[in-house]
Symmetry: C2
Subunit: 396 residues, 2 copies
Amino acid sequence: MLNLTNVKLGKVRSAIRELFEYGRKRKAEIGEENVFDFSLGNPSVPAPEKVRTELLKLVGEGDPVFLHGYTSAQGDYSVRKAVADDINARFSVGLDADCIYMTCGAAASLTITLNALVNDGDEVITFAPFFPEYSVFAAHAGAKLVAVKSDPRTFAPDIAAFKEALGAKTKAVIINSPNNPSGVVYGEEVISALAAALDEHCRATGNAVYLVSDEPYRELVFDDCTKVPYIMNYYKRSIVCYSFSKSLSLPGERIGYIAVNRAMDEFSDVYAGVCGAGRALGYVCAPNLFQQLVARVLGCTSDISVYKRNRDMLCSALTEYGYEVVRPDGAFYLFVRAMEEDAEKFAERAKDYELLLVPSDSFGVKGYVRISYCVDTAMIERALPAFKKLAESYKK
Amino acid sequence: MLNLTNVKLGKVRSAIRELFEYGRKRKAEIGEENVFDFSLGNPSVPAPEKVRTELLKLVGEGDPVFLHGYTSAQGDYSVRKAVADDINARFSVGLDADCIYMTCGAAASLTITLNALVNDGDEVITFAPFFPEYSVFAAHAGAKLVAVKSDPRTFAPDIAAFKEALGAKTKAVIINSPNNPSGVVYGEEVISALAAALDEHCRATGNAVYLVSDEPYRELVFDDCTKVPYIMNYYKRSIVCYSFSKSLSLPGERIGYIAVNRAMDEFSDVYAGVCGAGRALGYVCAPNLFQQLVARVLGCTSDISVYKRNRDMLCSALTEYGYEVVRPDGAFYLFVRAMEEDAEKFAERAKDYELLLVPSDSFGVKGYVRISYCVDTAMIERALPAFKKLAESYKK
């Protein structure tokens, strides 16, 4: 008998992929420009020009034996040093190269971190709506994912419900801000409340619970006044799982890092756990060319003004048509109330208007759809009449 | 409590890494040119020039949104098609794009494959000497690694011992040819005997046992008459775990693939298991730029004449000095009999002559050392007097 958990996982497509594949077929039938595909979170804005010029320099002038050779498992020292310095400069924390572990992207950051922390039977808390693969990653590490509800008016974590969910088996809490799928940013008040609840719980029980921040969307915030708090400034037992996929539009290159807070007492055990988990999962080192690349473009981001324009256009039009929308501060997702109770039925009806929207069920909440607006602005313009007709169809 | 298995794994350096770190310090003390470091399997020959020119073309002319974007989890379709066509042309098998799953290198190929096949309590057989990380990968997947002895005159698998090791719990057999650490190539006779034993066992028990070929060194053979048999031509339930790390000198870029034999009855379940395991372990897709690259340089290899020259020089000199050496047909390792029973003591004494040799204990056999000869030929020339003195020290 094969490993049936993984066989099943390989056969069942995620709701997002399912919809994307439907879109491909539909586009072939009625023409690319007539399908309004809001299914995937694939950056539509190219990488900054500096990415191209630095890659050309590295490949053109670099010594191939070094450039394409193994780095240490944690990542090249000078790259880790550059990442730590950048974090310290931006967030006033005291990291060094040996707090950083370079990874093959956000998913690797998360699976490695969970496998470092978790023993069979532990629980990992997150907040609904959440990225569906969290369940898969937690399950493989041996833990149960516990979803705590958010405030439906703001999609910020419900702190009272969080306190109730904290228990003897809780090993870690994953937050994701700016959030996929809601686009909401957890402000300082939220992070402080989470940290206080965790501190209280750990004091009362003597347990160690880790706060894991999954933040591939950190740089994708649209207003200067929106701050994404850095969790290490609020809670000692904190680990940041970062990826350059969205900030630099490099999702296919698999490059990110784990930053372990030097301030926690058991730092060296946690960091060793990260190294060991990476080894057990088969991650030898993060791709070297892109390690060298990111160290040279720290601070750069893709042109996110496109995403901001898309958000503004969609938010005001959908609100005008009668949709219930929480205006997101970041990422490139809009989480919209379905116009009937069953989000899957709503998403099915949307297909009649060639709108591909992801129903919220797989994100752990009912009654919403996710709109990925990392798309051509022109497609949004073409899609607006369809959104209007869809809304009108519910008023009849 | 953290995951102590992984914490421990992160703290204990492998014997190879330990020696490499010692070498770094020693070089700082007495000068780079006076230390003879044969510890690491890091290609010393640069990637073929075509790798550079194709990378420059891809980065310079490619659409960055496509080039750096997500591919499907299995890998870009046209890349998988090119890989399958190349395999078919070379080995006359009937693969298609959907038999191929692109990976982040050999370690990922193995961990994904094992997690697709194995359930808790299963056994995975391999042949000593073997690459030490096999134990780590098998353990993480929930299996016990069972090491079967090889014939000490040839380092080919002992087929009688293999038949005895096959049991109710056996789920997979890993072979590695050309072999790390012995450099030995398993010829057609060996592969046929393994396949026959497996067929017989499966027929008798009704169990399915998979033959997994870990072959990052496939292209590193030094004589035209040396053939590395393709396991799919000998056994149906076979899976090839490939990496471009050594053939193209790209070990840091993490690019390889899994090829699942289309001819096995349960092909679609096994391939789904691979996809599911990749998802559970956090492998979203293999790095896209290097997926595109390898499709453009299939059939290229680094200049392996350097390794051949190194092998020849070392083999004849060491034999002359009185060492027992099995002359390897491939890879870039030499497995040499220690001159005392305890290989660790022998390797310690070698350090007195500034020779860094890896004792064989972590490869699952006693009484040998591994010499990685993927090094500058000039260093070997400088090291020969030290090898001579070491041998002489045992004759006193």
